[in-house]
Symmetry: C2
Subunit: 357 residues, 2 copies
């Protein structure tokens, strides 16, 4: 219920963001022209607002459901045994699949609407030069992840990952220059506290003993992840009329390239000796499929909503996962989970109620 | 900082509450006349607002500090060994001491200002008939407390006691008819979640296994405690110009009477065989002194602020206690404590920011 309200409110901002971004990048588009662009994107007519609202709702729900099922697949695969495949090859396949799906969507669009300036695949150096940056940031973050485990254990890392919420909020404010009200900031701090509380268990206090290098790495990783997210939003929203599938195609092409580098750096021996697909199972294939679809949903949320909606969506997904796990895996929900979920729910309400007028 | 802001905002309501209460009780006082009454109370002149604000600040800080030191004395006394004295005799002495202190304050006031209608001790049946009710409610709650331990252990009871926060808010709304904004309600739910989170430990999940009778008793106790608090506020604010020390005197006289009954019911044998003061130590005396002063501070907060300020004050006191205990008793603060404290801080901010305009 409350979640729906957020999306509702956020919609009113779509135009402002677009115009903010235009002015940020020093383009000459006026608010009126970006409104026209959005109207075109929405299929034209007076129902732009409603079309935007619907699209935002659909992509946000899709992201929430895909993220929940992702976590459930991970639990399932852990129950089935240890990962036997190379994670880097799986990541490469995820990028490849996303690329293929974007091309598939584009061929359908070309057939129906013909090739236009906004949906043609060819690009300029000026447009494409920023697309490798998010992929490079994620690669760097993933490499750091191997080193942080020298300082923090895996459950501790799960807790520190909640710093992403704060870093996304701060970078969203600084880079996209979009304002959150004080009440929304309060909600954002609560989202971070609530998610962490929901994950508390008897070993969580160990994370407080993290050494200084561990904290620094955790903060750097949170900043890298937040920056990659916010930068992706900036790239995708820079030209609102550009077809999202073209933008995705170029993002994922660079994702494939950087993940190919990761295979060489991290798993060259394993792949050379045991083959590219060693250790793949049915569940691995499901996980790759899920990751690809979630990745596309994230891009869509960036295009039609924003990073804040993305963070709320994935946080709510985390709670949904736990509830579904009660039925699937006989999980027991802790008191901390109930408290954390309540705090997250209040946070969602505050994000909506605290909307700047 | 943020806490100061709340008190600031709440002050604007003092007049409304008084007039609400008058209309609630069917009195013919107008808003103007209760304003005059408050001005008289504040020493007259144009600085009523500021005087009220100062007094509210002082009593709230006093309550916070006294409540923190109360909890510290309890920890100290537990370290020193088990309670050896009869709790009912100590409660009786607390009421007697409060009575004596109220009389002492009154004799000074009579000397300085002379005896007036508002500060005379003599009362009417109509005024005094409601004063036994809070004492009776507390007595009933304290008796129930002995039975709830059949269903819940002591740490579980500490967690369930946070239901008081919600019950106070709900009864405050229903009985005093004073409105909280939606943001303030969100803050109140967060206060309850934050306090509970701060108290989480590895055994907290046991509270989820509480049986239905245990839950019912916990909820009844929360309602009794909330009702006693809200009813006390209603009594004290019913006649704003009445001297608080006279009101306290009558409250505490009935407190003494009901606690005398409790001694007979619960500790008659122990007192008859071992004497009234058996097992008293220096720390017992300190605890009695502290309870008496905290009790008076609670009355003052009811008079010059309200139950909501009281709940926030005692919740912040709980967090202060934990921080002070780090230095005094080498306590370790848990991650849950940090998360809970952050949620409580945000809640205090929301109570202030969500002020109805």
């Amino acid at each position: 219920m409350e979640y729906r309200k957020i999306k509702d409110d956020d919609d009113e901002d779509a135009h402002d963001v677009a115009s903010d971004l235009e002015s940020l990048k020093g383009k000459s588009h006026t608010v009126a022209s970006s409104n026209i662009a959005l109207a075109t994107l929405g299929g034209g007519g007076g129902s732009t607002e409603r079309t935007n609202w619907k699209r935002k709702g659909v992509v946000t729900c899709a992201l929430t459901i895909l993220t929940s099922s992702q976590a459930i697949l991970i639990v399932w695969s852990k129950r089935a045994g240890k990962y036997e495949y190379s994670v880097t090859t799986a990541n490469f396949l995820v990028e490849t699949l996303k690329c293929a799906l974007s091309l598939l969507a584009l061929t359908r669009i070309w057939k129906n609407e013909g090739v236009t300036d906004d949906n043609r695949l060819s690009t300029t150096y000026d447009e494409v030069k920023v697309f490798p940056i998010p992929a490079a940031l994620y690669l760097f973050k993933n490499l750091l992840q191997y080193y942080i485990f020298a300082y923090v254990d895996a459950p501790g890392y799960q807790i520190l990952k909640n710093l992403n919420i704060i870093s996304t909020g701060v970078l969203y404010r600084i880079i996209l220059k979009k304002k959150l009200s004080e009440i929304q900031w309060a909600g954002f701090i609560l989202l971070c506290c609530g998610c962490t509380t929901a994950q508390l268990n008897s070993n969580s206090d160990r994370v407080l003993q993290t050494s200084l290098p561990g904290w620094i790495m955790a903060i750097v990783m949170a900043l890298l992840s937040g920056f990659a997210g916010v930068y992706t939003e900036a790239i995708i929203k820079k030209r609102p009329s550009r077809n999202i599938n073209v933008q995705n195609f170029w993002l994922y092409v660079f994702g494939m390239a950087f993940n190919a580098v990761a295979i060489v750096i991290q798993d060259f021996d394993a792949v050379a000796n045991k083959g590219f697909f060693h250790g793949y199972s049915f569940i691995t294939v499901l996980m790759i499929l899920n990751h690809a679809l979630s990745g596309i949903a994230v891009s869509m949320v960036m295009k039609y909503a924003d990073n804040i909606v993305k963070v709320y969506s994935t946080s709510v997904a985390m709670l949904l996962t736990a509830v579904v796990s009660v039925f699937l895996f006989n999980f027991h929900l802790s008191l901390a989970f109930f408290l954390g979920s309540t705090v997250v729910s209040v946070s969602v309400y505050l994000h909506s109620a605290g909307k700047l007028r």
